[in-house]
C-alpha cells in the first residue's frame, strides 16, 4: 500500500466568526474576530482574572437536516460535528441521501460505508451535557422548595432570587449519559451518515483535532480505508462559568483590561494569555488520490506527513526546551522527504500564553529561520481546544489553494524576528506545516502541500 497519496477534498466549519468554511475563511482573511465580555452573572461565583471570551453563536440546525429528536439526543459538540460534516461532504461533491431503511439517517451516495472512517478529536467531549445534567441533579432538592407553575409569579423576593440562581434546566435530560460520553461526537457522525468503517475519537486536549486528522491520514496511507471524515469539535460551555474558571485559575487566559478586540495577541510582547473560545468545529474530508480522481473532482491540498510526540514533562506546561516538539518537526519533515527550507508557511500553535509563544517562536526560529510565513489562527478565534488543530489544518488547506493566508492579528511587537504574516496578500504557499501542543504534553504536526 506504499505510495498511497491522501488529499483533502472537502471542508466544513462551525466557528464564532461563521457557520461555514467559506465564511470562516473570509473572516480570517479580513482579520474579523468575535470577542465579548464574559456573562455578567458569572461574577456572582468568583472574581475572574480574565474578563472576556469568544462566544459561539449556535447555528440553525434545521439548515443541516437536523431535527428536534437529534437536538434532544446529542450534545452541541456532536450536533456541530454533524453540521460541519454535512458541509464538508457537500463541499467535496458528495451527494448525501436518506437511507432506504431509516429516513432519520443518511448515507453518502454511491460510496461503500465500510470504506469510510470517522476520526474526530475533542478535548471536553459532551461536557455541556454533563455539567447541565449535574447541576440539575444537585439542585433538585433546592427546587423542591419552589412552588410550581403559575404560582411562581407569586414567589416572595428571596425565593425569586433562588429561582434565578438556579440556572440549570429544571430536570435531568434522559439522554444525559450518552450525550456526555466523549466518543459520542464521532458516533453521532457515524450514525447520521451510515458509516461502517473505523469510527474513533482522539482525546489529547488541544492537539486532538490534529491527531485525529493525522490518524485518518495514516489509516488511508495504510490502506485500511479510502476515505475519512476527520477533524475536531468542542463546546466549552456551562451556565455557571465553571469551565472558564478552571482555565482562569491557572492563569492561562488573557488578563489585559484593554479594548476586548486587542487583548488576544499571540506572539506579541504584550500578550497575556489565550482567549477562551466557547467552542468550534472543523471537519476535513480526506480521500486517497485515486478515489478522488475516479469521482472526477478536484482536491484542495494534499497531506504528505504526520508526526506526534509526547513531552513526558508536565501536565500543564510545555517543556521549555521543546525537545520533543523539535524531534516531531524533524520527523514529519523526514517522512515527506523535505528540508526545513521547503516549508513556505507555518500555522503555529500560537496560543498567546507567555511560555508557549516564547518556546514555540524559538523552535521555529532555530529550525526554519525567517523564511516561512508564520501566523496563529488563535489570533482570530481564540483557543477552540480540541477543534483548534482541525480549524488550523483547514486554514492551511485554503492557504495553499489560494496562495495567501491571514495576518497574525494584534501582532504589533513580535517577540521573535520571524516572518509573521502581517496581511493576507497573495504569495507563494505550496507547503504548510500545522503545529499543535496540548495540556499533558501531547504534540502533533501535519504537513500539507499543493496537489501536483
Amino acid at each position: 500500500m506504499s505510495g498511497r497519496r491522501v488529499v483533502i477534498s472537502g471542508l466544513g466549519a462551525i466557528t464564532a466568526v461563521g457557520h461555514n468554511s467559506d465564511i470562516f475563511w473570509r473572516a480570517c482573511l479580513n482579520g474579523e474576530t468575535s470577542v465579548e465580555s464574559i456573562p455578567q452573572h458569572w461574577y456572582q461565583f468568583w472574581q475572574p482574572k480574565s474578563t472576556c471570551w469568544s462566544p459561539l453563536p449556535l447555528p440553525d440546525y434545521s439548515l443541516f437536516g437536523l431535527r428536534k429528536y437529534d437536538l434532544m439526543q446529542y450534545d452541541i459538540a456532536s450536533l456541530n460535528a454533524i453540521a460541519a460534516t454535512k458541509e464538508a461532504l457537500s463541499n467535496a461533491g458528495f451527494e448525501v441521501v436518506p437511507q432506504t431503511t431509516n429516513a432519520a439517517r443518511e448515507c453518502i451516495h454511491q460510496e461503500d460505508p465500510y470504506n469510510i472512517g470517522v476520526f474526530l478529536g475533542t478535548s471536553l467531549g459532551g461536557i455541556w451535557s454533563l455539567l447541565s445534567n449535574y447541576a440539575a441533579h444537585c439542585q433538585q432538592p433546592l427546587r423542591e422548595y419552589l412552588p410550581h407553575g403559575e404560582q411562581s409569579n407569586n414567589l416572595n423576593s428571596d425565593l425569586c432570587d433562588v429561582d434565578r440562581a438556579l440556572l440549570s434546566p429544571g430536570k435531568i435530560n434522559t439522554f444525559g449519559a450518552t450525550m456526555s460520553i466523549s466518543n459520542a461526537i464521532a458516533a453521532a457522525v457515524g450514525i447520521k451518515f451510515g458509516i461502517k468503517g473505523p469510527v474513533n475519537v482522539y482525546v489529547c486536549a488541544c492537539a486532538s483535532g490534529t491527531a485525529a486528522i493525522g490518524n485518518a491520514y495514516q489509516a488511508i496511507v495504510r490502506g485500511d480505508i479510502d476515505m475519512a471524515i476527520s477533524g475536531g469539535s468542542d463546546y466549552a460551555h456551562d451556565d455557571f462559568g465553571a469551565l472558564f474558571r478552571g482555565f482562569d485559575a491557572v492563569r492561562a487566559l488573557v488578563t489585559s483590561q484593554n479594548d476586548p478586540k486587542s487583548v488576544n495577541r499571540p506572539f506579541d510582547s504584550e500578550r497575556s494569555g489565550f482567549l477562551y473560545s466557547e467552542g468550534g468545529t472543523g471537519v476535513l474530508i480526506l480521500e486517497e488520490l485515486s478515489h478522488l480522481q475516479k469521482r472526477q473532482k478536484h482536491g484542495i491540498a494534499e497531506i504528505c506527513g504526520y508526526a506526534e510526540s509526547f513531552d513526558s514533562h508536565s501536565i500543564i506546561s510545555i517543556d521549555t526546551e521543546g525537545v520533543e516538539i523539535r524531534r516531531m518537526i524533524h520527523k514529519v519533515l523526514e517522512s515527506a522527504k523535505m528540508q526545513p527550507s521547503d516549508i513556505h508557511y507555518i500555522n503555529a500553535h500560537g496560543t498567546g500564553t507567555q511560555v508557549n509563544d516564547r518556546v514555540e517562536a524559538k523552535i521555529i526560529s532555530d529550525i526554519f529561520g525567517r523564511r516561512p510565513l508564520v501566523n496563529s489562527t488563535k489570533s482570530i478565534l481564540g483557543h477552540t481546544l480540541g477543534a483548534s488543530g482541525a480549524l488550523e489544518a483547514l486554514v492551511c488547506a485554503r492557504s495553499i489553494l489560494e496562495g495567501r493566508t491571514h495576518a497574525c492579528v494584534n501582532l504589533d511587537n513580535p517577540i521573535e524576528a520571524l516572518n509573521f504574516a502581517v496581511n493576507s496578500e497573495k504569495t507563494n504557499i505550496l507547503t504548510a506545516l500545522s503545529l499543535s501542543y496540548a495540556f499533558g504534553g501531547h504534540n502533533a504536526a501535519l504537513l500539507l502541500k499543493s496537489i501536483i
Binding site: R67, Y69, A104, E150, G170, T174
Partner: protein, 91 residues
C-alpha cells in the same frame, strides 16, 4: 375546554418531533410498534416531547405502556388535563 381532537393534534405534533414518521397518516388507532416502527428510545424521546407539551409529569412507566396513539390521548385526557390548564398551553 380540552377535547380529544385538540389533544390528538398536540400528540401528533409531539410524535413528529420525537421520531421519523414522514408520510404516515397518524390517528387514534395508529400503533406505535406496528405502524410507526417505534422502539424504546423513540418512546423516551416521545416522553420528553410530551412533557414539553403537557407538563413534566408524564410517568415513564405509563409511557412505556402506550401501544397506540389513542392510548396517549386518553391518558392525557384522563389524568393530565389539569397540567395543560396550568401550563397555559394553546392548541
Amino acid at each position: 375546554m380540552l377535547t380529544e381532537d385538540k389533544v390528538l393534534k398536540k400528540v401528533i405534533a409531539a410524535i413528529h418531533d420525537a421520531m421519523i414518521v414522514d408520510g404516515v397518516d397518524i390517528d387514534m388507532e395508529t400503533h406505535f410498534q406496528h405502524d410507526l416502527g417505534t422502539d424504546s428510545v423513540d418512546i423516551v424521546t416521545l416522553l420528553m416531547t410530551l412533557e414539553e407539551q403537557f407538563g413534566d409529569n408524564v410517568a415513564e412507566s405509563d409511557a412505556m405502556g402506550f401501544e397506540t396513539v389513542g392510548d396517549v390521548v386518553n391518558y392525557i385526557l384522563q389524568y393530565k388535563s389539569s397540567a395543560v390548564e396550568i401550563s397555559g398551553a394553546e392548541v
